[in-house]
């Protein structure tokens, strides 16, 4: 066993630290959850490929985050990008460590290293979200190269602008509690950009591509929902009333979105499906993410209710415009993220969070809505363009996509020389 007390800054709050550490663990757990959520939806010959893309994001992104990502996102290099002052997590272990911009109202009551670990988990899951759109056709080596570059060129800057108090969008007063813009809009538009580069799956809309294991998808849903409490309520960075409010909002939005998605399905499709329940819940979780710590009362029910129905309708975009967003990252994360980011401007309430602002329905007029619109647009344009360029250049050089024969064989055998299941009574 071990010593239990190390010199920590006086104002470190043990309860807050416990909560943020738990939250970091919960957010880490979300990436395997996402892996199962996605993998269940692909055909079994591609299941391991999907699982691997998500699991390996934990590996490579975490290493790059510690080496340089965190410093670029949360260092103070002016509003546009961080700096190299904390590369290799330099100095964060010290009890005396502090973080640029996190002073006064924003002062941290947890160890900086805990904050860095917590943020690391966000950096991991964001590129992983993209894999849903590109399912069944990415070359593994190209994927690894892509997310590595993307972390540095796309994620880190946007995280700096929006999350860091020294970032220009943060300074402008754009509100993003837990990553509506940084995580969901960002990953959603990036997914669309990559899909435009790599094109459709072989036989898309010609042959059926049913989910190979919905129980696996529901397992992912359960883990994602569970982990999302860390994602949203953990973003309060304290164990207090705000965290509790964000927790409640997160849950209610997911529940309401599940209901509205199923109603929409029932009205349009005739059946309420389990995949619909899962998708609706995730849509609600996405939409509430930017709002979680700024809204209260029944607002989460409205936000979730809108998200479920609107994201369901957004599914048809891909068929209308003919891009093969395999597992609907655009329909759920992009649309849901935009919706949530804008609704902050409508439902934000300073009675819930004095450091936030009042939205349209809470006497704040259009000012906040404008800022949200700005943050949304900036994220869409920057992430969309830069991601497209990254994907295009990788495609032109080593190629982003596997051969048609490998696509027939499946990612599992062609990329990883493995088979997901062998149930056979054979042996």
């Amino acid at each position: 066993m071990t010593p239990l007390v190390t010199p920590v800054l006086a104002e470190i709050d043990a309860g807050a630290t416990a909560w943020v550490l738990v939250s970091a663990a919960l957010v880490l757990f979300m990436t395997p959850g996402l892996a199962f959520f996605y993998a269940g939806m692909v055909r079994s010959k591609h299941a391991l490929g999907m699982l691997m893309q998500n699991f390996f994001a934990i590996g490579i992104i975490s290493v790059l985050w510690a080496l340089v990502g965190f410093s670029l996102a949360f260092g103070d290099g002016g509003g546009w990008i961080g700096d190299f002052s904390m590369i290799g997590l330099k100095g964060l272990g010290q009890a005396s460590a502090s973080l640029p911009g996190y002073v006064g109202d924003f002062g941290l009551v947890i160890p900086v290293i805990a904050f860095a670990a917590y943020q690391m988990m966000f950096a991991v899951i964001t590129p992983a979200l993209i894999t849903g759109a590109t399912a069944d056709r990415l070359k593994f080596s190209a994927y690894v190269l892509f997310i590595s570059v993307w972390l540095i060129l796309v994620y880190a800057p946007i995280a700096h602008w929006v999350f860091s108090p020294t970032g220009w969008l943060f300074k402008r007063g754009a509100l993003d509690f837990a990553g509506g813009a940084v995580v969901h809009i960002n990953a959603g538009i990036a997914a669309l950009a990559v899909v435009l580069v790599i094109g459709k799956r072989r036989n898309w809309r010609k042959e059926p591509m049913p989910p190979h294991s919905l129980p696996l998808t529901l397992l992912g849903t359960g883990i994602l929902w569970f982990g999302w409490f860390g994602f949203n309520a953990g973003s309060a960075l304290g164990a207090n009333g705000l965290a509790a409010q964000a927790f409640m909002n997160t849950h209610l939005a997911a529940a309401a979105a599940m209901c509205s998605w199923l109603v929409a399905e029932r009205v349009k499709g005739g059946h309420a499906t389990t995949l619909g329940a899962a998708s609706g819940a995730v849509a609600g979780l996405v939409a509430i993410t930017p709002c979680a710590g700024f809204v209260g009362g029944l607002s989460p029910l409205v936000i979730g209710g809108l998200a479920g129905a609107i994201c369901y309708l957004a599914l048809s975009l891909k068929t209308r415009f003919g891009f093969d967003d395999a597992l609907d990252v655009v329909g759920v994360h992009l649309i849901g993220g935009i919706l949530g980011s804008l609704l902050v401007g409508v439902f934000a309430d300073t009675k819930i969070n004095s450091l936030g602002a009042d939205g349209l329905f809470f006497g704040g007029g259009f000012s906040l809505l404008g800022k949200q619109l700005l943050a949304t647009t900036v994220t869409l344009v920057y992430s969309g363009v830069v991601t497209f360029l990254i994907a295009k250049s990788i495609d032109k050089t080593i190629g982003m996509r596997i051969s048609e024969e490998d696509e027939n064989t499946g990612l599992d055998l062609s990329q990883h020389a493995e088979t997901a299941y062998s149930f056979g009574g054979r042996l």
Partner: protein
Amino acid sequence: MKLITSIIKPFKLDDVKTALREAGVQGMTISEVQGFGRQRGHTEVYRGQEYTIDFVPKTRVEVLVDDDEVDAVVEVLVSSARTDKIGDGKIWVTDVASVVRIRTGERDHDAI
């Protein structure tokens, strides 16, 4: 000898098995198959996209019998597998040149 192959509805398997047993059939081999025919398949919906599944899960039952038992066994199969609904399935009989029991090397009649 003859091989009687029948394609039946999976949930009728227990009835068929019991009936064959009572009819004195000593053994059979079954396997899972999927059938396409007059009985339409079903539609599945995933994220609003409809898939028509033409193939219906069926069970294949194969029975090796002596020539003189063929008609009796076919009769048993028909009566026990029947639900009078489309998709009840087919039975076909093919000729078998010889049969061997692996354990003993016994052949033909003795091997069944």
